[in-house]
């Protein structure tokens, strides 16, 4: 157990939005599904705290990037399902490019000499 906790990484401020939007790209999903998907696709490394996930979902909904609707699941349970809106799709694109810039920048800081790193 302890080992697994050590492997978890604190999410960078703002990256949760990106992860949620990216997850919803594949189709509408409820909160639990989103958290499971992020966990699965990060190889169990990224675990989203519900105390972060739900505020994020509701905030994104307020921004108009995602929209929510009540649906009935296959287990006959009422669930709140989120989907990506058109503006959300645009937002995802811009967040992705921002992330790319950021990770490039960080990589640059960590490896000041490009050649050295290639060697």
């Amino acid at each position: 157990m302890k080992e697994r906790y050590r492997n978890r990484i604190e999410l960078l401020q703002g990256t949760l939005d990106l992860l949620v939007l990216q997850t919803l790209r594949w189709g509408p999903q409820h909160g639990y599904g989103i958290s499971q998907a992020i966990r699965a696709s990060s190889g169990d490394i990224l675990r989203v705290d519900t105390g972060s996930l739900y505020p994020a979902l509701h905030r994104l909904e307020g921004e108009g990037w995602i929209a929510a609707a009540w649906k009935v699941s296959e287990n006959n349970q009422r669930v709140r399902v989120y989907r990506l809106t058109v503006t959300g799709r645009k937002q995802l694109a811009s967040e992705r490019s921002r992330w790319a810039q950021l990770s490039d920048a960080i990589a640059g800081v960590l490896n000041p000499n490009g050649k050295e790193s290639e060697a």
């Binding site: 519900t50 505020p55 905030r59 669930v79």
Partner: protein, 877 residues
């Protein structure tokens, strides 16, 4: 955010979070955990549900508040960057909202605020009238004392009834004797209103019967200002009309009673000396419906009682009909149409102000195209843009509203200042005009509505901005703003149309006032001083002593320098007061109770000469028509026409029917129609008895002067003091003043001044709008004008081009305004006098005036256009 939306959202959130846990549990069971472990682990993994709910809730509130704060901050920054624009917009809105708030606070005080009584809607007014009475307004019908008593005993529809009647006292306090207004009431009057004394007690049953002990109740103001606000004065004596009245109670501070102008002194009625007669109708009756009784039920019961009384007392009651109304109507009935008209008129000013500011905003759309395009490019949604611009307009509207609220207080003061004192006394509810929650709510409402009104069109316009064009366009293209400028044109056209409607309305009111002032009252109002004298009954015990006073004082007045002549009458013309009398003409038998009825006056022999009322036939009363000679009577022309249409009235005789002892009186003369009522009413049939044969202790003097009549007041006062130091001079006024302050004139003059000011404001705003539009188009077309001049256009051509465009808009506005005015001035018709609602000359003048001012508004920008230097204009790009 918590209710009711918040509650529903809260339960939905709970359900969402619970579904998360349930799905986690189900997954764990599928993976092989025992149900108990699965549930426990899932809940542990989920964490503290309460905390999750809290932080998620925060996400809602924050977004909402944050974006508003951001919009506000951005909005105020933008507005501060354009101080000129912002100032003009705020001032315009302050004008509009301020004027509306002022009028609304008066309307609220008069028409909406509940009357200061217990369950005021339950209080009705009752009265008796006859078709023969010629009463101009039957809601003022009075009731006789015995009928009132019978009503209180028989009617089951009412909890209680009370009666009142205005009165006047000579009050001898510490200083000189003075005349005070008073009220005579039944003991049940205050309890029917539901008013409790602040101090002491109310009148008790049995204290309003003939010759009961003399007691009085005073107003709170009187108690405070004249009696030192000392509670121990209750039980002490007040000297009224040289008699001692024991003070038993003090009214509460907020009490007022408009129908008798909230007098300082109230005493119980004393139904003696003829007041107890069944056919003397002098009491105003109020009655409180029993709970659950509808006005219709009550009215039908009163009708039944009335016909029973008619059967029992045919002589007095055979032709009496019952009139029932509401107390509110009695109090505000006359001013209600006036106030609603003013509210309508002032709302036009607000509409124009909105149109003006919307037009300013639209002009800025073009200037802000680039900014908007940048914001759109940066990802601002259309909704966010609309919200942003609405925030800006609401900031302007609220700033204008706050400023307007301040102005409105000043406006209300100004408005009350032009109301004559007597009129204001009859509208005590206006003295309490103030910013109360309802007025504040109105202002906020006006600000929100106007903010949205003038904000939404430009906001939608702005949000439509095409990013690419906006970024490329330098904001100077001639064609780009075509749609916007058409919208601005429409706004300016409607401003001019609205202003024209107000101008036409004001013109009609002014014309009504002028028609009223030129209405012949039947006597000469110039150089006429009037005042009243009331002789106390216990020093002037009989008619002869009153007559002696009258003769001596009239002689004294005639000898004053500047005085031509002086006459006496019991009631002055144009007062709308006075009594009526029933009579039968000799040789014309009539069914009992169905006698004719007309105004009755008592006037000295020289009265008609002094008033300059022409003699039409016969003679005036003479020196020989004194008490012990055969009684004579003078009638007016209306009387002759009504009752002797095909006969010569002179020489005919009639007698009054209120007593069998009444002698026959001979008509000796017919005089012109002196208007005894109001200038806007037809002259009613009136008969005049010689003062020598029918004397009263309350007399009005009419003094014809050679000089300015008001200047004589001090010497008249001195002369009266020389006669009797205990008798005060009552209401000295010139007749011109009486006319100017009369309700008929006031009801037209007041709205004509106000609608006139609104029209002035409206015209100013509309012209600012037109001026702004034309000068803006000149600045936008600088380049085009430059090219035209470079290509050889004369400055006169350019001037004409600019002027034509402005004047086309003005002409369209005037035209639409005329059509609208023709439809709307009908609403004024109850206030108009002697002028048709669609008066061609008034409309023409209003149209011309507006056209003229519009030309001036276009001249300045037109002149500027001719000064465009083609070289500068072309280099401008």
């Amino acid at each position: 955010m918590k209710f009711p939306l918040g509650r529903r959202r809260g339960s939905e959130l709970d359900e969402e979070l619970e579904s998360h846990v349930q799905m986690a549990i189900r997954d764990r069971i599928e993976r092989g955990e025992s149900p108990e472990n699965a549930a426990a682990n899932a809940r542990r993994e989920f964490g503290n549900a309460g905390v999750v709910r809290e932080v998620t809730r925060d996400a809602w509130g924050w977004r909402w508040l944050e974006s508003i704060v951001r919009d506000l901050r951005y909005g105020t920054r933008i507005l501060r960057q354009n101080p000129g624009f912002t100032t003009v917009a705020i001032l315009t809105m302050a004008l509009g909202i301020g004027a509306n708030t002022a009028i609304f606070s008066v309307v609220y005080a008069a028409l909406l605020r509940p009357l200061p009584y217990y369950q005021p809607a339950q209080i009705a007014t009752l009265g008796e009238t006859r078709d023969q009475t010629h009463l101009p307004d039957s809601s003022f019908a009075n009731t006789s004392y015995p009928d009132y008593i019978d009503w209180t005993q028989q009617a089951k529809s009412f909890d209680s009834m009370g009666g009142y009647q205005g009165d006047q006292f000579i009050y001898s306090g510490s200083g000189n004797p003075e005349t005070l207004q008073g009220g005579q009431i039944t003991a049940s009057f205050f309890s029917t209103l539901g008013v409790k004394m602040a101090l002491g007690r109310d009148f008790l049953p049995g204290e309003d019967v003939p010759n009961a002990p003399k007691i009085a109740i005073v107003s709170h103001v009187f108690w405070e200002q004249r009696l030192g606000g000392n509670p121990s004065v209750v039980g002490q004596a007040l000297r009224l009309d040289s008699q001692a009245y024991t003070l038993v109670g003090v009214l509460p501070k907020d009490f007022d009673f408009a129908p008798v102008s909230s007098p300082p002194i109230w005493i119980p009625i004393n139904p003696t000396n003829g007041l107890e007669r069944r056919n003397l109708r002098w009491l105003n009756i109020i009655a409180r419906f029993k709970a659950g009784v509808s006005p219709a039920q009550a009215y039908s019961e009163m009708k039944t009682i009335n016909s029973q009384l008619a059967a029992a007392y045919p002589k007095q009651n055979a032709s009496v009909v019952i009139v029932m109304g509401t107390l509110r109507d009695r109090i505000v009935g006359k001013v209600q149409p006036l106030l609603l008209t003013l509210l309508g008129a002032v709302s036009f000013v607000l509409l124009i102000a909105c149109a003006n500011v919307a037009s300013l905003f639209l002009a800025r759309v073009a200037d802000r195209r680039k900014e908007i395009a940048v914001r759109v490019a940066l990802g601002a949604g259309r909704k966010a843009l609309v919200r942003q611009f609405l925030t800006e307009s609401l900031v302007i509207a609220f700033a204008g509203g706050a400023l307007g609220l301040l102005w409105s207080q000043w406006g209300v003061k100004l408005m009350l200042a032009i109301i004559p004192r007597d009129e204001l006394d009859a509208m005590p509810y206006l003295k309490a005009v103030q910013i109360d929650p309802a007025v504040l709510a109105f202002t906020v409402f006006a600000a929100v509505i106007t903010g949205i009104l003038f904000g939404v069109v430009p906001a939608i316009q702005m949000s439509r901005t095409d990013v690419n064009q906006g970024l490329r366009d330098e904001g100077r293209g001639a064609s780009a703003g075509a749609e916007k400028s058409r919208l601005r044109d429409m706004l300016v056209v409607s401003e001019i149309a609205l202003a024209l409607v107000l101008l036409a309305g004001a013109g009609l009111m002014v014309k009504s006032v002028s028609a009223l002032m030129h209405q012949d009252p039947g006597f000469s109002t110039q150089n006429l001083l009037t005042f009243a004298v009331g002789l106390p009954d216990n020093t002037y015990k009989d008619d002869l002593s009153a007559l002696r006073f009258e003769r001596a004082f009239s002689d004294k007045l005639r000898n004053l320098p500047g005085v031509q002549d002086a006459a006496v009458v019991n009631i002055l013309p144009l007062s709308g007061n006075g009594s009526t009398v029933r009579f039968v003409v000799e040789g014309r038998p009539i069914a009992q109770g169905h006698e004719d009825e007309c105004n009755i006056r008592e006037a000295s022999a020289n009265y008609f000469q002094v008033m300059k009322v022409p003699l039409i036939e016969g003679r005036y009363a003479g020196a020989t028509d004194v008490a012990d000679k055969p009684p004579v009577v003078i009638v007016n022309k209306a009387f002759a026409t009504a009752y002797f249409p095909n006969e010569d009235p002179v020489g005919k005789r009639f007698r009054f029917t209120y007593s069998d002892k009444q002698p026959f009186r001979e008509i000796v003369g017919v005089v012109g129609n002196e208007n005894e009522g109001q200038l806007d009413e037809p002259v009613a049939p009136t008969l005049y008895l010689p003062f020598e044969q029918s004397t009263e202790s309350y007399m009005n003097f009419a003094v014809r002067t050679n000089t300015e009549p008001a200047a004589l007041i001090p010497s008249v006062r001195e002369a009266l003091r020389g006669m009797d130091r205990e008798v005060p001079l009552i209401a000295p006024k010139t007749m011109d003043q009486i006319v100017a302050e009369s309700p008929a004139v006031f009801l037209r003059k007041f709205p004509s001044v106000l609608i006139g000011s609104f029209a002035g404001l409206a015209m100013l705003l509309a012209m600012v709008g037109l001026y702004g539009l034309v000068s803006y188009s000149v600045s936008r077309r600088t380049r085009e004008i430059g090219i035209r001049i470079a290509l050889g256009a004369q400055s006169a051509d350019v001037f004409r081009m600019i002027l034509t465009r402005g004047l086309q808009l003005a002409a369209l506005g005037v035209l639409l305004g005329l059509v609208a005015a023709a439809a709307l001035t009908q609403l004024l018709s109850s206030l108009l006098f002697g002028v048709h609602p669609i008066d061609a000359i008034t409309f023409l003048i209003a149209g011309l005036a507006l056209g003229l001012v519009a030309t001036f508004a276009c001249l300045i920008p037109g002149r500027r256009a001719t000064n465009v230097d083609p070289m500068v204009a072309l280099r401008y790009e």
